[in-house]
Amino acid sequence: MLLIDQVVKRRGSRTVLDRVTFAARPGRVTAFLGPNGAGKSSTLRILLGIDRADQGRALIGGRPYRSLREPLRTVGAMLDGVGAHRSRTAWSHLAWIARTHGIPRRRVREVLEQVGLAGHAGVRVGRYSLGMGQRLGLAAALLGEPEVLVLDEPVNGLDPEGIRWIRRLVRDHADAGGTVLLSSHLIGEVAGVADDLVIIANGRVVRTGTLAEVTAGHGDLEETFFALTGGAPGVGR
């Protein structure tokens, strides 16, 4: 279970996150929805210990990320694309990550097959298309067979087959009892797969609840989204 509790983050004079609070429960897919610049990535970076919150806490199973002894075995994260150096091969990238946790090489081969990159493992990441890069990021998240998946805009750049594959992966993971926190600004994608919703705009959580609760009275999710986020403040940010 993931808990974000009253998190505040300031950058310079801007308050990027203003007492953001929500939870992602096991066995459910929690979608983190918001316009560009709303604070989704900032929240996830704090959850994963990359940035520091000015106030509040972000916990995974009751503990901060930085205190996890082998984080990749608990949380599989896919943040902002690949994170692999462009002159390295996909295999080498996954290999060093696996090595930090003592994960065997065999597992690297498995995840590459699972995401469909087995044939491109020896290619330099710099030549990857956007979709291939996303798959590599996902492969890195799956390496440790974690129970929690934290995915930031996972379908970005994927073709329809890839999108369907992610939807299945995420659904199966939750159905097996795992926790999934998925951030996106693609309403259609989210509507098809989410159980719980957290809608954020301008650094504040404007609504949380199940899909049914949140969309009650607004019609479909798109209507709800625009109603709650007050139009499209993300454009032009």
Binding site: R45, P71, L72, G83, W96, A140
Partner: protein, 241 residues
Amino acid sequence: MRVGNVILAELDKLRTLPAVLLTAVATVGAAAGIAAAFAAGDGGPGAAESVTDVTLRMVPYVQAGLVLLGSLPAAHEYADGQIRATLTAVPERGLLVAAKSVAAATAVTLTAAAATGAGAAAAALTWWRAGAPPAAGGGGGGALLGATAYLALIGLLSYAVALLVRHLIPVLVGVLSLVLIGSPLLAAVTAHARWLPDRAGSQLYAPTDPVLTAATGGLVLLVWTVAVGVGAWVRFVRADP
């Protein structure tokens, strides 16, 4: 998380980064070439220099390669956002810096040793082919070890600066300007220039200074490196990447 694994992972990163291998090979090659050039230029019967002397003359040139090599382990993390993958895999930052430092130290030491060895071999080979036996003595193995230590420490200093600064070009320009331009200019002005990292460190292989010995000179260079390293460590552990 086992320290050994994290260190091995950092070494994996260096091993699989083409720029690292390229720089190491080029540095060793340059060392051999430059030492051979010195030997060919000044050799001949009655040459007053030993293999060691000639090898030591290539050190100021070859240090540039070590400066580049040392800055790669840290600087490459900040290209393409790899730092995020690194921090999610190893969130304990103190451990990460320690492991990365061990890996960087390994890389620069191996390259420094290979460069010194290649330089000595090339010089000896050049003289042997010219039929001119070199003079014996001239410091021998001790000076060569000192040269290796100097090159490794300069590489480590670069690593510390790169960890602090996070961008490759400013590190290269800054460290090289200091060592190659600033240092000689300052040395002409004041005797206190002996406390500059590269000047003090050069006592390791060319002990000419009245105040610093080889050991104390090397120590001064080490202190500089540790000082910058501490600053880099603090920034890395406490600040957002």
